[in-house]
């Protein structure tokens, strides 16, 4: 069986679920951010695969993927800045100790 749309969808589903497991289970906030990047990459693979196999000449999925990359870059910059600001004030990046808004 030659490689088709389903193979790319399953690859992206596996990557997305690995990233989801990391986001839900890890304690280090920087590692959580890295797992979010894995999930964004998985979604990008899905968009490009649909663009390649469903509308090969329109390129709509690739343009969506470009916008996802731009938003991912902005998210990484703001996320790391927030983590460093929290580290300055609380001295830890453990996500289970971020309880400023909990009561």
């Amino acid at each position: 069986m030659s490689v088709g749309l389903e193979h790319y969808l399953i690859l992206s589903a596996v990557l997305f679920c690995i990233g989801l497991y990391g986001v839900l289970s890890k304690r280090n906030a920087v590692v959580i951010l890295m797992c979010v990047e894995i999930m964004l990459n998985a979604v990008n693979i899905t968009l490009v695969a649909f663009s390649r196999y469903v509308v090969p000449t329109l390129l709509t999925g690739q343009i969506f993927a470009i916008f996802v990359m731009a938003v991912a870059a902005a998210e990484a910059a703001v996320g790391i800045a927030i983590i460093i600001a929290i580290y300055r004030s609380r001295g830890t990046v453990d996500a289970e100790k971020f309880d400023l808004m909990k009561w």
Partner: protein, 161 residues
């Protein structure tokens, strides 16, 4: 040939993603993440998305990985390792359930696929689609404003009081 390239890239990508999640050393996990970005660029090449592969290497391998490594070095938490929290077992269950649902949907759905050969150099076509008539000019401008706001926000957040 194409199938072999896809399988090698897919296996290496999944192993790199598992390494990011399972390695206890945060810095090694970040290096595996950079490797994952490179293999995803290879997956884009197998999908005939040459421009997107180059953008992936520039943005992810060049910029985001540097930001993440700087974040690891500024927060001196790497000696504590990346341990799992209390939610490890529920997270595993949620991940496996979602994986089963997604794979089942991907296999059982009859996807309508087109047999038209894809565009070969995509750069000019993407430029026309982005900036041409009826294209994505307004979203491009909004993205520029978003990135400017994100950079300013990061500077304000990270500045010493």
């Amino acid at each position: 040939m194409f199938d072999i390239v896809f399988w090698v890239l897919a296996v290496v990508t999944v192993i790199a993603a598992l390494a990011v999640v399972l390695l206890r050393d945060v810095f090694r996990a970040a290096l595996c993440l950079v490797f994952l970005f490179l293999t995803v660029a290879g997956v884009y090449i197998t999908l005939h998305a040459d421009f997107l592969a180059v953008v992936q290497i520039l943005v992810y391998v060049g910029a985001i990985s540097v930001v993440i490594i700087v974040g690891i070095m500024l927060t001196r938490e790497m000696w504590h390792g990346s341990s799992s929290g209390k939610l490890r077992i529920p997270a595993l269950v949620v991940g496996l359930l979602l994986l089963g649902t997604l794979v089942f949907t991907a296999i059982t759905t009859q996807w309508y696929t087109s047999d038209v050969p894809p565009l070969e150099p995509t750069t000019a076509a993407i430029g026309v689609r982005l900036f041409g008539e009826g294209g994505f000019l307004l979203p491009v401008e909004v993205t520029a404003v978003l990135i400017l706001a994100a950079v300013l926000g990061a500077i304000v957040l990270i500045r010493e009081k």
